[in-house]
């Protein structure tokens, strides 16, 4: 996208309700100055971040009030995880904050970066000439950030692995499941995206699958012990290692190590009423103890406090998968489960709660 396209306002926008608001009210600057350089002095590119109270909040007060707690805005889980991994030394923590500011905290969103322009972290730019879009388009505003893993899985871009049946056959978009209530936040500061209320559940649509009296025997047997994705997803992406730094021009960079496709069933580290399953799908995330070594050696002294394998919902759902063809395709199949051998020695302690002991791998089918 060319730079001029990013900032070209469509005439059509001026006819809309939002187009009636003088530019200066939200963006500042000097609208009477004909010199573009001085006219842009003090300009606010995204008047909705970090606080949209004085812009969107004038009319959409309730959404803005609740939205301040949205994970898309706060990135709270990142902060919590890094805080747990960091050394207790306050001076080192300050350095880590700078490092995170340079490399991690730019990947946020805001009202404007979903409903007007592409997120800044992926280059920004109006999606529809500054028109406000009630529903953010998937390609420009969801998968532009959630691309490496979710988009590739959902749309079938991983070689040899079909896309999600909800997209391929039903053309469902992200917003078909992830509704505004979940995206906008509800005022609570969630520590993990898995805790967010109003998140989608398969049983919202596939009601029968989650019942003790399901019509299907396989659902009756597994509905509380195995998450839906264990049976209905295919191989998905695992990323390893990440190092950050600044190049000779002072620009921040990151370098991740290997990326592999695999399918792994782990133990559910946090069994809740919402997620009662014993077994869930798990994914390795791109991190390692030397992540911030460029800034400070040994900053993540307590790296083992947080697992590097995470509960995940692969977005390549299928009715039929290799592991659900028959009981024997999963039971006794050690390679499907996250065992000690799958986890690097230096990461084993961190992942203890997800690693499946050999004795726990289902060996036989029990008649009920």
């Amino acid at each position: 996208m060319e730079l001029y396209e990013k900032i070209l306002v469509e005439d059509e926008f001026l006819e809309t309700d939002h187009g009636q608001i003088p530019c200066v009210d939200c963006h500042g600057g000097n609208p009477t100055d004909s010199n573009w350089e001085t006219a842009h002095k003090g300009i606010i590119k995204d008047p909705t971040f970090p606080d949209a109270s004085k812009t969107c909040g004038d009319c959409h007060e309730e959404i803005v009030k609740l939205g301040k707690s949205s994970i898309h805005v706060t990135l709270l889980p990142y902060r919590i995880i890094m805080d747990r991994r960091a050394t207790a030394d306050e001076s080192v923590k300050k350095v880590l904050d700078i490092a995170m500011g340079n490399h991690c905290m730019g990947c946020h969103s805001s009202c404007g970066q979903c409903h007007v322009s592409r997120p800044h972290s992926v280059g920004g730019g109006f999606v529809q000439g500054h028109n406000f879009m009630k529903t953010p388009p998937m390609a420009t505003n969801c998968t532009s950030c959630h691309g490496s893993r979710l988009e590739m899985e959902f749309t079938g871009k991983n070689p040899g692995i079909p896309g999600d049946v909800h997209f391929v056959k039903k053309n469902m978009q992200c917003v078909s499941c992830h509704k505004a209530g979940e995206m906008h936040g509800d005022g609570k500061e969630y520590q993990s995206m898995h805790d967010v209320a109003n998140g989608p559940k398969c049983v919202d649509c596939h009601e029968d699958a989650g019942k003790a009296k399901s019509k299907k025997k396989v659902h009756r047997l597994h509905y509380e012990t195995v998450s839906c994705t264990v049976c209905h997803s295919l191989q998905y992406k695992h990323c390893y290692g990440c190092h950050v730094g600044k190049d000779s021009k002072g620009l921040p960079y990151y370098q991740t190590e290997k990326t592999i496709m695999d399918f792994k069933i782990g133990l559910n580290p946090t069994v809740t009423e919402e997620r009662p399953y014993k077994f869930i799908t798990v994914r390795h995330v791109p991190t390692n103890p030397g992540l911030f070594d460029y800034y400070v050696k040994g900053g993540l002294k307590n790296f083992d406090q947080v697992p590097t394998w995470k509960p995940t919902t692969p977005h390549n759902i299928q009715l039929k998968t290799p592991q659900n063809k028959s009981c024997k395709k999963c039971h006794k199949k050690k390679k499907l489960f996250l065992t000690e051998e799958d986890v690097a020695a230096e990461e084993r302690e961190a992942n203890r709660s997800l690693i499946v002991p050999k004795s726990e791998i289902p060996t036989q089918t029990k008649k009920r």
Partner: protein, 73 residues
């Protein structure tokens, strides 16, 4: 034929229409009209102008992303 009361109502309607026709388009501030004076709008709706300016900006601005970034984020 209109009676004195009917004539009065008719006159009132005519006066109201004249009032609305005269004052509404000019009297109430119209943000679109005010935006027409804004250099923001005149420039940001002019693709030719923006192409020229963006070429200048690109020369002034350092590259946004490091070439050392590798792998999937």
């Amino acid at each position: 034929m209109l009676g004195p009361k009917g004539k009065g109502i008719w006159c009132l309607w005519v006066m109201l229409l004249i009032f609305l026709g005269y004052f509404l388009p000019w009297g109430i501030s119209n943000p679109v009209k005010s935006q027409e004076k804004s250099t923001c709008i005149s420039c940001h709706t002019n693709s030719r102008e923006l192409i020229k300016l963006s070429q200048i900006i690109l020369k002034m601005r350092p590259p946004a992303k490091s070439e050392e970034t590798k792998g999937e984020g």
